[in-house]
């Protein structure tokens, strides 16, 4: 009876809802905020890649011959159906089989971080790579594990050098590979030599690499392979026009919830404090107290993040701000993939205790979580209150950043 009365009242008096009012003002505010935060037209982020390099890079990207034991390809964990990531919390490298949940169930070597998608990677100004920024060209000289012996001046080419020599990622974690465990430059060079020889001798990949590098096949080195892979990723996953670009640069309109979400992104949510610039990432390092999934890079449910690279205590629990293109396609989220829903990932930024299940954590995991919380209090997202509707609007806004890659990828022998 009470509800019937309410319904009648609504019919009789109507609501004076304000949603949608003043859309012109809101649109202009949002456009200016996006430009002020560094958004540029997609083409301004592009670096030209010759077609021969794209073709050769795609072949290598899809081939298991890039791994020492012919175990795994880039395309094994960077899949179109998961937005160029793998759809599981911690990546599974060598010995892994299948895709998505079946890969999770089939065992294999666990890499204690979430596989990163490729959108925008290697574009202009994209100079910091991996969750912990272990390749960082935002400073001069560039910093990386090569410690002054970088194989290229292009930081993305340097970044592409790392997965093929990472134990458990593309090299089997077995006794016979113990000499590679040190992951020294010398041991890496030995692996690069073997891989380059195998790939240049391949009847399909060899000629393609020769065409891309302009070298005769016998002179092809691993840096030529890495340049081809980087070229393919750089082109195939380059930033392309999204609905939000159309809104900002071509005066297209957004739906009311998208508009509201955009204003939250640049306003109340404080998202753009870190998710800014052409890629929606400041390329810097921040502590968001996500739950930890898996053993963690530092063990027992702990991942110190950027600290592992710099040994600076201010960097504890910090990770590079992830870019946001196609973020709606790349679940699960966070450095360890501990959060499956985009809405929960957003909530974790402002209200981590609402997402973390402290009761299911071990005491050690909780200690790590408190450590992350300690650093999180200095972040812009601290102290922000977003309700369910606002989190939903933010999620809706982020879906305006979707686009597709040029070519599909598929793992080959």
């Amino acid at each position: 009876m009470r509800y019937a009365t309410s319904a009648l009242i609504v019919l009789a008096f109507g609501s004076v809802a304000v949603a949608g009012s003043g859309d012109h003002l809101r649109s202009e505010v949002l456009r200016k905020a996006a430009l002020s935060a560094g958004l540029v037209p997609p083409e301004d982020t592009h670096i030209f890649v010759p077609p021969s390099q794209i073709a050769a890079g795609r072949l290598v990207f899809q081939s298991r011959k890039l791994s020492l034991e012919n175990e795994i390809a880039c395309a094994s964990c960077h899949l179109d159906r998961f937005g160029s990531a793998d759809g599981i919390p911690n990546a599974i490298g060598t010995d892994g089989r299948g895709e998505g949940t079946s890969r999770l169930m089939n065992g294999g070597d666990i890499i204690p971080r979430n596989a990163m998608p490729f959108w925008g990677r290697g574009g202009k100004g994209f100079d910091t790579f991996f969750w912990d920024g272990r390749v960082d060209a935002s400073v001069t000289p560039m910093k990386s594990q090569f410690a002054g012996e970088e194989p290229s001046e292009d930081p993305f080419v340097v970044a592409v050098h790392l997965p093929p020599v990472e134990i458990g990622e593309m090299i089997l974690d077995v006794n016979s590979n113990q000499s590679l465990q040190r992951e020294s430059v010398a041991s890496a060079q030995a692996v690069y030599g073997l891989l380059a020889a195998r790939l240049r001798d391949d009847p399909v990949i060899g000629p393609a690499l020769a065409s891309a590098s302009g070298k005769i096949r016998s002179e092809i080195e691993f840096v030529d392979v890495a340049e081809a892979i980087a070229g393919f990723i750089r082109h195939n996953f380059r930033v392309k026009p999204t609905r939000f670009h159309d809104f900002v640069f071509s005066d297209a309109s957004l739906m009311p919830d998208e508009l509201a979400g955009g204003l939250l992104f640049y306003g109340k949510g404080r998202c753009s404090a870190c998710h800014n610039g052409p890629y929606f990432s400041d390329m810097r390092f921040h502590a968001i107290a996500f739950p930890q999934a898996g053993f963690g890079r530092n063990g027992f449910g702990v991942d110190y993040g950027r600290f592992n690279v710099t040994q600076d205590v201010d960097d504890l629990y910090k990770f590079r701000t992830p870019p946001l293109y196609n973020v709606s396609k790349t679940a699960p989220y966070s450095h360890s993939g501990s959060v499956y829903r985009l809405e929960d990932a957003i909530r974790s930024h402002v209200d981590p205790l609402a997402v973390a299940d402290a009761g299911s954590m071990s005491a050690a995991e909780r200690a790590g979580f408190y450590g992350a919380l300690k650093h999180w209090v200095d972040e812009a997202a601290f102290g922000v209150h977003l309700d369910e509707v606002e989190i939903s609007q933010l999620s809706t806004f982020l879906r305006t950043l979707e686009y597709d890659s040029d070519q599909p990828v598929i793992e080959t022998e």
């Binding site: 609504v10 609501s15 304000v18 753009s272 309700d387």
Partner: protein
């Protein structure tokens, strides 16, 4: 007839109270956030504090929504007294105990 008008106003208030309460809270939050951001720019000027102020300014759009709703409720015939009553209900919605009510109503100088 004399009874019809108060009933009608009660209907308008009841239908719109939830949204009015939400906007009251959001505007209050935005204004407090803006004040703190402005003070921060003065006390600790930096790129970060300026960016925070810009974000806080965008957040103030919530107050535009609040003001618009007040005006529209006025057009539906609600008086300032009745709008104040709706604002008090909004505050009570968020108050968990008497201390909240005291905080809102105590004289401070």
């Amino acid at each position: 007839m004399a009874l019809a008008q108060p009933l009608w106003k009660l209907g308008v208030m009841r239908v719109n109270q939830t949204q009015f309460s939400d906007l009251t809270y959001k505007c209050d939050l935005a204004m407090r956030g803006h004040m703190i951001a402005k003070l921060d720019v003065g006390q600790r000027p930096s790129e970060q504090s300026v960016a925070e102020l810009r974000a806080a300014e965008i957040e103030l759009i919530a107050c535009q929504d609040y003001d618009l709703m007040r005006k529209r409720l006025g057009r539906w015939g609600l008086s300032d007294n009745e709008l104040s009553e709706m604002a008090l209900v909004a505050i009570e919605d968020r108050a968990s105990d008497l201390r909240e009510v005291v905080r809102i109503h105590e004289i401070r100088y």
